[in-house]
């Protein structure tokens, strides 16, 4: 899924090595951001929830 996202974004930054780098970085940034959310979800894994 991450690879697909990178490839979809690639043409928008130019179909060169720089474009691929930028789209890979963008995907990586999204992954880091979502990992942050997931780490917080895990940290709050309390038995009580509403």
């Amino acid at each position: 899924m991450a690879v697909a996202s990178t490839l979809i974004l690639w043409p928008f930054f130019g179909l060169g090595i720089t474009g691929l780098m930028v789209s890979t970085f963008l995907t990586l940034v999204i992954v880091l951001h979502e990992l942050g959310h997931m780490a917080a979800y895990r940290a709050f894994a309390t038995p009580r929830s509403r």
Binding site: V22, V29, M38, A40, T46
Partner: protein, 181 residues
């Protein structure tokens, strides 16, 4: 984790919330976790600038820093669905304070755009798009019972967290843009 092309991704927690502190912290930890990387990336760039790391790394490090700061700072905009809006709504309980804080965060982010020399028209157009996005907001899943409210200390803590996240990502963008352009 689900990727949505052009909009980013969605983290699936799989567990409902118990308190408003959880809602605010989980929203804040997206940009917060990335903020940990900002000083490390800047140190890496400085090291490659000084020759302690290969010079070739300097460009990619700056580009990564710019994208990291840009994506996270836009996520901190006080828009209903975005992390910034989620956090602000939990921290500021009165309407007046919420409006004031939203304007403060938005102007800080606009200022960053202005400092790095983004064209005024682009900034205004971007702001208009985000305002429209925030209008779609309403309607969300409501918990069965009311979530535990936050105390004053928790609200202050999350508020400072938001402040530092905005400050660090703003600095990341300004630093990277000044070195790149």
């Amino acid at each position: 984790m689900i990727f949505i092309p052009f909009l980013g991704g969605i983290a699936i927690g799989g567990r409902p919330y118990n308190s408003l502190f959880e809602v605010a912290t989980c929203a804040l930890m997206g940009p917060g976790m990335s903020a940990f990387l900002v000083p490390i990336l800047i140190a890496g760039r400085e090291a490659s600038h000084l020759g302690l790391l290969p010079h070739l790394l300097e460009g990619p490090l700056l580009v990564f820093l710019l994208i990291l700061g840009g994506f996270n700072l836009l996520n901190l905009l006080p828009t209903y669905r975005f992390d910034g809006g989620q956090v602000l709504r939990q921290v500021f309980v009165t309407k007046k304070a919420l409006v004031g804080a939203s304007f403060a965060v938005t102007s800080a982010i606009l200022c960053v755009g202005w400092i790095i020399g983004a064209p005024n028209n682009a900034l205004l157009a971007g702001l208009a798009v985000f305002t429209l996005l925030s209008l779609i907001g309403a309607g969300s899943v409501k918990p069965k019972e009311k979530l535990e409210p936050m105390g004053g200390a928790e609200r202050m803590l999350v508020g400072f967290g938001l402040y530092s996240a905005v400050a660090m990502h703003s600095y990341a963008i300004i630093y990277a843009a000044a070195a790149l352009f």
